[in-house]
Symmetry: C2
Subunit: 216 residues, 2 copies
DNA sequence: GATAACGGATCGCGCTACTATCCATTATGA
DNA sequence: TCATAATGGATAGTAGCGCGATCCGTTATC
């Protein structure tokens, strides 16, 4: 398959494919001459996966690159889950705002996040990016004085614990290791917007029953 | 309070504050002269909320603007929830990819999303953006042949249903209507990255127990 | 043997979220 | 009182991201 066919079958323009090739998102095809290369079905699968993560999940190209790197390097599924978990969604902000940003120790929020993890009995690697994310949110909640602390998140944590059991159940039925890894990415990453959408729908349903038509 | 004090107390640079004022994210201060204006505590609160949504939740400035508009316009809490739910997180993609994008009817995924909502007994306005989001994910799952359909999402939906009950419980204790609306935004929007982080931590825990050290 | 497609590289573009600079005006303090 | 600094308002510039457009010399195709 040449690049034009790859473009037609994937619906991705040739300049975009070239861009992904340059950036290392998509592996180079088998070169047959100085200016000819052959692409296979794996390239098509890859390309579809990339477009799904970028288009639907709205990950940055660099984040997708990290995830694809994790898939490609051989490793057990737990390692893949770990790297996928660590993949950062977007760019960071500048400094300013607070000194805590540059401090080398844990922020109060991160300490609370670790408390929550201990309370749940979860065993996770202590440097996971998710801990930082959770800590950032707890810091922000404290900053705006929302009255929502880590204990308030415990019931949420119990629900996500059950969710993750569903997640690992979705992993059955994949054949090869590569396919299993791709499936892990889909379940872990692509389901995220779906879960948020489900929560918002459920919120709308609940808020209709409780708050509608009852202004101050 | 003048702009320099607002900047110091919020940690946001003066040019950025000016930018938010221009963009209508932050209401203008009370003008006391041609080149003097007075800002109050509400401006400080607003600014902190903006920085939280942009910095922690990583919403785009335009999305934050929509949400703040929803807060400010008087309305019942259910309306606010609805508008917050509809607020789009990022920019759209170009066309191409599939013809379904431009089709005016529902995609198969959106139809499935509506089936799921019916099955859950949820009552939501039929034009909610969350339905589209959910449909997009279902379409993407079908495209990559993941074997995950709307029925697979039912157990997830039941968990998010319980989550939303927690969410509305968090709404207690706010005094004014404005404060209630801000709280709704925090619970609905700011908790999203926290929930994803919790799910990832739980996934790492579960995958460690099930998959670690068992390569092909 | 003309034409089209190929790969590879470079340049440019539209968008976002700011940042920097300039300006005339107004507060501030020795 | 008068130099200095800060203010609001406007305009212009910036960095990064995700591509698209174009040129190039080479190679398949009819």
């Amino acid at each position: 398959m040449k690049i034009s066919e790859l473009s037609r079958r994937s619906g991705v323009s040739i300049p975009t494919i070239k861009y992904y090739l340059r950036d290392g998102l998509l592996p180079q095809g088998q070169a047959t001459a100085a200016n000819q290369a052959e692409y296979g079905e794996e390239h098509l699968r890859r390309l579809r996966l990339i477009r799904t993560l970028v288009g639907v999940r709205r990950l940055s190209v660099s984040a997708v690159k990290e995830i694809l790197g994790a898939i490609t390097e051989e490793g057990d599924l737990h390692q893949i889950f770990g790297i996928v978990t660590d993949a950062r969604p977007a760019t960071k902000l500048k400094k300013q705002a607070k000194e805590e940003e540059t401090a080398e120790g844990d922020t109060p929020g991160v300490a609370d996040a670790r408390r929550l993890i201990t309370e749940m009995g979860w065993e996770v690697s202590p440097g996971t990016a998710a801990i930082q994310t959770l800590g950032d949110v707890l810091d922000a909640l404290a900053d705006v004085d929302a009255g929502i602390g880590w204990q308030s998140l415990l019931p949420y944590a119990r629900l996500t614990d059950r969710m993750s059991e569903l997640d690992v159940k979705q992993m059955n039925g994949a054949s090869g290791l590569l396919e299993l890894a791709e499936r892990a990415v889909l379940v872990s990453v692509l389901l995220e917007p779906a879960l948020l959408a489900l929560r918002r729908l459920a919120q709308e349903d609940k808020s209709a029953r409780l708050f509608s038509g009852t202004p101050e």
